[in-house]
């Protein structure tokens, strides 16, 4: 009987697990029985050094790290799946979870030290500030002026349609939560977004789910440029392999700065451990020195470019584009711009 029950439970778990589209998963066993379950949108490659460092300070704690897409993460927390800490790059989805009561309040000296813009009501906390950048292939841009603004980019793309046809990559905003966030915020902030989308749409753009794959394709020459890529991934990639082809360009007219946020779900069990992890993340995020940082920090006061535009604001306005009607309208406009055959 007991075995049958166990079997049912296991199979149910298996169904649940299968229902969730897991991109990556790794378990770091600790010497004790306590396990901190983290669900995150951050790739293991970027995040693992930090996890290892955290575990080194508490060897007893096991860490279970699951990588999913931001939409998947949103759904998992909404469905009440058991995680102790949720880290997401999709600020809007994360904010909606907190707004709708899926987050547990947490307060410590570290969270108190956070600047106001980096937290909302002791529920969600930003631990990195990552700008959206453009990554280009130097070879494919050979002989062309490097665009510094969107207007430059529009001009370059429009003047060289043959060179860029099928070689422009960007997020598929229908799939990617982060891509949708970048696109909506950019559309709100700059009218150049729609003109740029129109121009890209004529060039048969390649649509991606994730920054990493876009960077891969640029690095390998399949793409001439990837638009709206996470700067942190690109930098990490450049740091990892010396690729002379890859080049990061920051737009001078305007750039979205995304805050990677953490929250402790309302149904978390290892709350104290999640809090400790959160504190460690925030401490890392608030460090000034760039030296051995695993994650891009929240503030780069030494970086003048950071001063020209602030990060996307954590607030109820983020929910505006999550409204189904707004989303439908935005996606319609986006599809019209991107898919003109």
């Amino acid at each position: 009987m007991r075995i049958a029950c166990l079997a049912v439970c296991l199979s149910l778990w298996a169904v649940c697990a299968a229902a969730q589209e897991i991109e990556d998963h790794r378990h770091y066993p600790g010497t004790g029985s306590q396990v901190l379950r983290i669900v995150s949108t951050a790739d293991l490659e970027v995040f693992e050094p930090f996890l290892l460092r955290f575990q080194a300070s508490r060897p007893a704690l096991g860490i279970d790290y699951t990588v999913v897409s931001s939409a998947e993460l949103h759904r998992a927390i909404r469905d009440g799946m058991a995680y102790d800490l949720a880290l997401s790059s999709a600020m809007d989805l994360q904010f909606q979870l907190a707004n709708d009561g899926y987050a547990r309040a947490y307060r410590s000296e570290v969270t108190d030290a956070l600047p106001d813009w980096a937290r909302w009501r002791d529920l969600i906390f930003a631990f990195t500030a990552e700008p959206a950048v453009m990554v280009i292939s130097s070879e494919r841009f050979d002989g062309l002026p490097l665009p510094a603004t969107r207007q430059d980019l529009i001009t370059v793309l429009r003047d060289n349609p043959d060179r860029f046809r099928g070689a422009v990559g960007t997020y598929d905003v229908r799939d990617s939560g982060l891509g949708y966030l970048f696109a909506t915020q950019e559309a709100r902030s700059s009218d150049a977004y729609w003109r740029l989308s129109e121009v890209m749409g004529r060039l048969d753009p390649q649509l991606y789910c994730c920054s990493a794959q876009m960077i891969d394709d640029v690095a390998e020459g399949r793409l001439a440029l990837a638009y709206n890529v996470l700067g942190s991934y690109a930098e990490e990639r450049l740091a990892r392999e010396d690729n002379s082809n890859l080049r990061i360009i920051r737009m001078e007219d305007f750039a979205n700065v995304m805050l990677r946020t953490a929250m402790i779900p309302a149904n978390a069990e290892a709350v104290a451990e999640a809090g400790a992890m959160l504190d460690a993340l925030l401490t890392e995020g608030m460090r000034e020195a760039r030296g051995d940082l695993v994650l891009p920090p929240l503030q780069r006061s030494s970086d003048p470019e950071r001063l020209s535009f602030g990060p996307i604001r954590l607030g109820p306005a983020l929910m505006v584009y999550l409204d189904p009607l707004n989303r439908r309208a935005f996606l319609e406009a986006w599809e019209n711009a991107m898919e003109q055959r």
């Binding site: 707004n99 009561g101 009501r121 607030g315 109820p316 306005a317 929910m319 505006v320 309208a329």
Partner: protein
């Protein structure tokens, strides 16, 4: 004193109590106003947000369409960190938003904004709803936009303001207590002054108080003055009585003395002569005492309305010395007079009385065949008459007591005296703003008595 406590403290405590009450009241009012203001602010923002959303409603091919304006939510986020919920209903169908955000007052008329407080997901929400008629197809369809927000922000604002108000109330209270203490002390100052004025007075000063007294103290002052008047009258009556008694005793005594002298001269018996002399001496003493009592009464009477005549102490000393020389010569005592002109203002009768009593004392306590030095000196500020004898001195006891009534020195046994002499002198000098100094001779036996008076 301990039973009724201090008026000042009571007044202070009372005023402090009132201040505390007012502080608490004002704090409560500010807190409630702050909460109301915060609530109204939130209502206004919610109304603005709902209105903006309602304004963006439009129809496309007979279908109600809505694109939530960014500002509608960003303005909610700008004011406070409150969770936001919304719902847009077209007729009975939900257009968008949170399906379970139900309840709350719904507007009756299009364009009207209504507010309500509802419970949702375990929190208290403030909700603003507005209805707009949108033409869908041929029929106008009512569309209701509801925007709700948790109330943590207004709690925080009201809490902050309440805390500020509390700090200000405490400061106000402390200030009020300090001012109360000051006010109590200031308003009680006339009373203190009054008490000081009474206690500063000399023991025999029974003049009525003539002061500017506040209305509350006037009855007390009147009563006190009346009491002092009665007391003064009573003292005056008893002094009159003493004077009268002394006078009446002295006249028959003079008769007795005269008769005794006649008998003394006519008798032959030594034994009888001896007895008669003793009798005459006793009669003299009684007469002298009665005289002193009379003097004392005179001093008490005249000191009340002191004359301010110019008196030369040198003349005075000469007169008194002459008057006492016969008595002194009976004991072979020489009075050595050294004078310089020393003018003072005062009652010549009283001054003479005083000096006579002092000199009389000196003669009485001096041994036979001695000298009494009587000196008058003036340094322009003070004029002094000093009487120095070669008698037994002042004894070892405290010198100040010797001027008390009927008090006599510790070494006067065997000498008849009333103990009034120095009292009279001292009273006279006090009435003239002067003083009586008693001290022993620096060299040799004897005492010196100085009558010190301010110079004219």
């Amino acid at each position: 004193m301990s039973g009724t406590g201090s008026i000042g403290r009571r007044l202070t405590l009372l005023l402090a109590g009132v201040a505390a009450l007012l502080s608490v009241l004002s704090w409560g009012m500010v807190t409630s106003f702050a909460l109301q203001a915060a609530e109204r602010t939130q209502d206004n923002i919610l109304a603005a947000s709902a209105t903006i959303i309602a304004e963006t409603l439009r129809t496309e091919q007979g279908e109600v369409r809505l694109e939530l304006p960014y500002a509608a939510f960003s303005m909610l986020g700008a004011v406070s960190e409150d969770a936001v919920y919304y719902r847009v209903m077209a007729g009975d169908d939900m257009l968008t938003g949170y399906e379970d955000l139900t309840g709350g007052r719904q507007p009756d008329l299009p364009g009207q904004v209504v507010f309500d407080t509802i419970e949702y997901r375990g929190a208290s929400l403030r909700m603003a709803s507005i209805t707009r008629l949108v033409l869908a197809g041929t029929q106008p369809q009512p569309v209701t936009v509801s925007v709700a927000q948790t109330r943590n922000g207004i709690g925080t604002i009201a809490g902050d303001l309440s805390q500020t108000a509390a700090i200000m109330s405490v400061a106000f209270f402390v200030l009020a207590v300090a001012l109360s203490a000051f006010a109590a002390r200031t308003s009680l100052r006339p009373l203190t002054d009054f008490a000081q004025a009474v206690s500063r007075r000399g023991p025999s000063d029974l003049r009525p108080l003539r002061r500017e007294a506040p209305a509350e103290l006037a009855p007390l002052m009147t009563s006190l003055n009346r009491l002092m008047d009665r007391l003064g009258q009573s003292i005056r009556r008893s002094e009159d009585f003493i004077a009268e008694a002394a006078h009446r005793v002295r006249t028959p005594l003079a008769t007795v003395r005269a008769q005794a002298e006649i008998v003394l001269h006519s008798t032959e018996s030594e034994d009888e002569k001896h007895r008669l002399r003793k009798m005459i001496r006793a009669v003299d003493e009684s007469s002298r005492s009665a005289g002193q009592l009379l003097d004392h009464a005179t001093v008490a009477y005249r000191a009340e309305n002191l004359a301010r005549d110019q008196v030369d102490l040198a003349d005075l000393a000469a007169t008194v010395a002459d008057a006492l020389r016969p008595t002194a010569s009976m004991k072979d005592i020489e009075i050595e007079l050294t004078t310089e002109s020393a003018l003072v203002l005062g009652d010549p009768v009283l001054l003479e009385n005083a000096l006579r009593n002092v000199l009389d004392n000196a003669v009485k306590y001096s041994a036979d065949e001695t000298t009494i030095a009587l000196r008058v000196a003036s340094d322009g500020i003070e004029s002094v008459i000093t009487v120095c004898d070669q008698g037994p001195g002042l004894g070892d006891g405290p010198v100040d007591h010797l001027t008390e009534r009927f008090r006599r020195g510790g070494n006067v046994e065997g000498i008849v005296g009333s103990g009034l002499g120095l009292t009279i002198a001292s009273d006279v000098l006090t009435a003239h703003s002067g003083r009586l100094d008693l001290h022993s001779q620096e060299e040799g036996p004897g005492a010196c008595v100085s009558l010190v008076l301010p110079s004219a």
